[in-house]
């Protein structure tokens, strides 16, 4: 909430960080720092943004994800909002997929692995 200056009732599980809550790419870094502090876990940005997939040459053409890349990403990111990204799977726009639920799932997995 503080990172994006939004009201508590706006933060629903299906709200997308970018379109609904107005996040910018740099807010991800802020969110990561706040989550680490709140939950006592270590998070790398690469892990959250699935850097291993989006930088894998086999999964992309002209900085857009191909079908295989999209499939790999969908298996990894839960509760994502795919409608916009599927129309234009540019790697620079991957963060549009993230919802509040995606972050919650991610943290649950991190805490379970702890």
């Amino acid at each position: 909430m503080d990172a994006l200056s939004v009201e508590p009732d706006e933060v629903t599980e299906t709200a997308t960080l970018f379109n609904d809550l107005g996040a910018e790419s740099i807010d991800f870094l802020d969110i990561i720092f706040r989550l680490e502090k709140a939950f006592g876990v270590k998070i790398s940005q690469d892990e959250l943004t699935q850097n291993d997939i989006i930088t894998n040459p086999a999964y992309q053409e002209n900085r857009k994800l191909n079908a295989a890349g999209l499939k790999a990403l969908k298996e990894r990111i839960r509760d994502g909002d795919w409608a916009t990204f599927e129309k234009d799977p540019s790697i620079d726009k991957i963060q549009s997929v993230f919802t509040v639920g995606t972050i919650v799932n991610f943290i649950e997995q991190k805490l379970a692995a702890k």
Partner: protein, 162 residues
């Protein structure tokens, strides 16, 4: 005018905290416009002074291998005005340091008066933005900035002969 918003480091504990001071003077042109007849150091430049103090602290923590860019002002609260003739003291602490960046907490004092509180997020830009590439050379930490640290380290151990 040079874009350096503090005059010298007073304290520097690698990876932990730094204190820098700036003397505010009417020789600074902008104070005559901000505001005519009522010169006040702009809050935005107080944030910049903190960003430079904290940014060098964060950069030095990784031996200036990273390009440290101010990503976000998490919080900036100001309690008092800063006027010419006053000395501003920026104290920055690293709260979190990470492969991708850092969070710092900072206070700004004039004498014993708390003037402002500024918390910042820095990005190590080579580690972010999905593998986008930036120039090899570290354009953030120019010699002008590093000289501030060199001067601090030399003070008391080496005197410059006039």
């Amino acid at each position: 005018m040079r874009w350096i918003w503090f005059d010298r480091f007073e304290e520097f504990e690698s990876g932990t905290r730094a204190v820098a001071v700036k003397n505010v003077t009417l020789a600074e042109d902008h104070l005559h416009d901000h505001f005519p007849g009522f010169p006040v150091m702009p809050a935005s430049l107080l944030i910049e002074g903190m960003a430079q103090t904290a940014g060098i602290l964060v950069g030095e923590a990784r031996r200036f291998r990273e390009k440290v860019i101010l990503a976000k002002v998490q919080r900036a609260v100001f309690h008092e005005l800063v006027r010419p003739g006053q000395q501003v003291r920026f104290e920055a602490r690293i709260e979190q340091l990470h492969q991708a960046g850092a969070v710092t907490r900072g206070t700004i004092h004039c004498g014993t008066t708390l003037v402002g509180e500024v918390d910042l997020v820095f990005s190590h830009i080579d580690q972010n933005l999905g593998g986008r590439e930036f120039p090899e050379e570290n354009f953030v930490f120019t010699e002008e900035f590093l000289a501030l640290l060199t001067t601090y380290r030399q003070r008391g151990t080496e005197r410059i002969r006039l």
